[in-house]
Point group: C2
Amino acid sequence: MIRLNYRDARPIYEQVRDGLRHLVVSGAIAEGERLPSVRALAASLAINPNTIQRAYAALEGEGYLLSEPGRGAFAAKGGGEGSRRRGELLRQFDASARELCFLGMTPTELAERIEQAAETKGGEGA
Amino acid sequence: MIRLNYRDARPIYEQVRDGLRHLVVSGAIAEGERLPSVRALAASLAINPNTIQRAYAALEGEGYLLSEPGRGAFAAKGGGEGSRRRGELLRQFDASARELCFLGMTPTELAERIEQAAETKGGEGA
DNA sequence: AAAGTGTATGAATTCCTTTAGTACAGTCAG
DNA sequence: CTGACTGTACTAAAGGAATTCATACACTTT
């Protein structure tokens, strides 16, 4: 389900967070579906439950997760209109588009890329 | 020229790197123009020359800078076709576009944003 | 009651950033 | 050539921030 890369400089909780987010965005985990428990996933990845908890908390902040104490964590639709995650993505989108244009790419080229990216379900977290 | 924000969690060398990159991308520093020397900029910002050097090295890796030992550092066109920076930006662009589409934005909406972003010269580093 | 769930807290460790000092090799004006 | 400038390399140290862990608590369900 999720692969940890200890050679990577990125902290484990980020790898878990991005991996889980990808599973939700790609539809591998449907909306409302329950995610593995903190301890179960921790045991599965052979890491501390707290590290998983941190990833879950971050995803809940982004709106991709809804945690219910005592019950479990369930996948959600994702950030709404004015969510933090949406704002972050828009800034990232604008900044990269702007610089890519400076590097010679035309808005038309980039627009075509969007279509292509929208279809593809692959790709890893930002 | 560049403002450091010590309250910001971002490390100084990143602020310097992003600030300088923005100066090049926005055209404030023209192609071929010489940048302040490592020691001069360090003194100007009241920080260690090593920190500036780190920012310069990063920018050279991105293709926005060309360092000539003994002569100085000069602004460059930016990443070429297959540069590391270009690849990084494309991944960032694709990932954000993909997730924004998942969140409900249409490719058309995003395409319009590109036009808007291409004109604007503002914005801070990613 | 028992086993599961998410959550809070504090400590330890590890990593990163920054600084400082020193040194080397190159360029250029005098 | 001399001297002042340039970028670069290296080590060491200090400080702080971030990551990870162990433990305990509150809740839900069976």
